[in-house]
Symmetry: C2
Subunit: 328 residues, 2 copies
């Protein structure tokens, strides 16, 4: 019997989850829950239902794992503790600083309901976190580096669009190649914000907007751009659509460490992602962890888990025997 | 109280384990067991004992985890099932094709004794296997690539030294940059053995040996060199000592896969290692898994485990709370 998945929230991430389920034959999409009018939401999977989010609890016996595809700012802090009352859930909560608090809330609710809630699944937090953790456990003395990009930062693109006179915009975060090379060479550099990443902006102006004023406003915007070397390109709406409509991303996690009686040997562990579609890759990670949620729940486990708490084999549709034979 | 570790076999790997224990303050080395005369074995840790391997079982109550540092060809197939009768054990069994058989033997013995045996720990098998498995669970449709090097292959160096007229030799396995780049570019190339790696040999001749005959013999040696583009350099013993006495290694694990409703997006997951000392890095992985063996045993688990079966958090000396706060 397949694992019955529900999706709550049908934006880029929800659609990505729907696509990922199609690539995992041991799973099926049962229903999508939306805050919009269900009749206005067209999904790709013919066999799945679209329902109002208010009906979700009624599906508790028809769904094995509910995947929460809301945002981290306001949706997930409320939704994850709420829906784990009814379902095993997976979310991609990515506000790093608030993870301990979110974990506590989900853990209490999941233990009370006897369900499993896996939080902060994706690539960062998620696969990047895992690689930081494994690398730190192996090379106990060393330095960690995380670089993001080249990719689209949604938050920075939104910040550009909030500027008066900006009609549309896309922002790319780009790791500085020299900094990456210095880390790879084992130089353990101390890197400032400016030395790690540059920011490249593609901006469509409203008719009659003042390009010079807008460029100045972008480059001096605190937190978002002021601490970076920022390049601004003014382009047409057509050009933006044609060349910048994708949502690529990626990045690098490195650990540089030493071993030996006198710490005489250096080592570099590097993990990197190059993603054509950030939401689809994130969704693919989430779907693998939905399989884990299903299995952990079947074993009788309850409470909140993160990627650190889950043995890798739980993610795979293959048996332990197959995994040992094919991949060990 | 610290985790008390025993080492069985004091070669490069055993010494690496000893060094790694020094970098993990929650562990201590209790004893090294050797097949040599214990009086002839000088170890670095003043507080640890050196004993004959025949005395090992008597230490069962004084050691929490015994790390088996023998070879995969003849030592470990016998030693791991034998010593798991008395101890929780970790080995680095690396004969990929025989892993299922070894797993079965260790599992039966470990279940009978109520101990935990973790096998095939290191970087390949080990961290490379983990990365293959995670990447396959995430990108279910795609291609896998593993490249090794640049690094010293012990087996190929040994093969060179067996040739008549060769006094000493070191062999480096080198990944072909163009092949790596094609994979990274998402081209999903089909790569022959020759297209993936080259082999570089540094050979010291015996007095009066025939260099031309030896070079020919190397380049045509079946399995070891015939299928590769092989370069042979004849150098002096001094030069070999000076420039080629290290044991560096490393490699790359890549998965190239697609997502999207029509599989329209491509992704690359890459994991790579650049290691100054192959045995010391392997040992550092083993020691992290020794911590896991200790904890799993404390929970009452028994039987054979691999890296696939162990939740990442078990490897770290940090608490779940710390890990979530610092690394998620």
């Amino acid at each position: 019997m397949s694992i019955r998945i529900g999706i709550l929230g049908y934006g880029n991430l929800g659609r990505g989850v729907e696509c990922a389920i199609r690539q995992n034959p041991d799973m099926e999409l049962a229903a999508v829950f939306t805050r919009r009018n269900p009749e206005d939401v067209k999904i790709l999977t013919r066999t799945a239902a679209v329902r109002s989010v208010s009906e979700a609890p009624e599906w508790r016996d028809r769904i094995d794992v509910l995947i929460l595809c809301g945002g981290s700012a306001t949706d997930l802090p409320v939704q994850t503790p709420e829906y784990v009352k009814y379902f095993n859930v997976v979310d991609s909560f990515d506000t790093h600083a608030r993870i301990p608090e979110h974990f506590g809330n989900v853990d209490a609710a999941a233990k009370a309901s006897g369900k499993v809630g896996i939080i902060s699944v994706g690539w960062d937090p998620g696969m990047f976190s895992l690689n930081r953790m494994y690398a730190n456990a192996i090379l106990t003395e060393g330095s960690d580096y995380t670089f993001w990009g080249k990719g689209v930062s949604q938050g920075h693109s939104d910040a550009l669009r909030r500027i008066e006179g900006v009609k549309n915009a896309k922002q790319y975060t780009i790791p500085v190649e020299e900094a990456l090379e210095a880390v790879r060479a084992g130089k353990n550099p101390e890197l400032s914000t400016r030395e790690k990443h540059t920011r490249e902006c593609f901006v469509v102006l409203e008719d009659g907007a003042d390009a010079a004023r807008i460029e100045q406003e972008i480059k001096t915007m605190p937190n978002y751009f002021a601490d970076y070397d920022t390049t601004v390109h003014f382009i047409s709406e057509e050009e933006l659509k044609k060349n910048h409509s994708g949502i690529p991303h990626g990045g690098f996690v490195l650990r540089s460490g030493v071993t030996g009686w006198e710490k005489e040997h250096s080592h570099i562990i590097e993990y990197s992602l190059k993603l054509d579609s950030n939401p689809e890759f994130t969704s693919s990670v989430i779907v693998a962890y939905a399989r884990a949620a299903y299995r952990l729940a079947a074993e009788g486990q309850t409470g909140c888990k993160t990627v650190f708490d889950i043995a890798p084999a739980y993610l795979s549709s293959r048996s332990g025997e197959e995994l040992r034979k094919m991949m060990l």
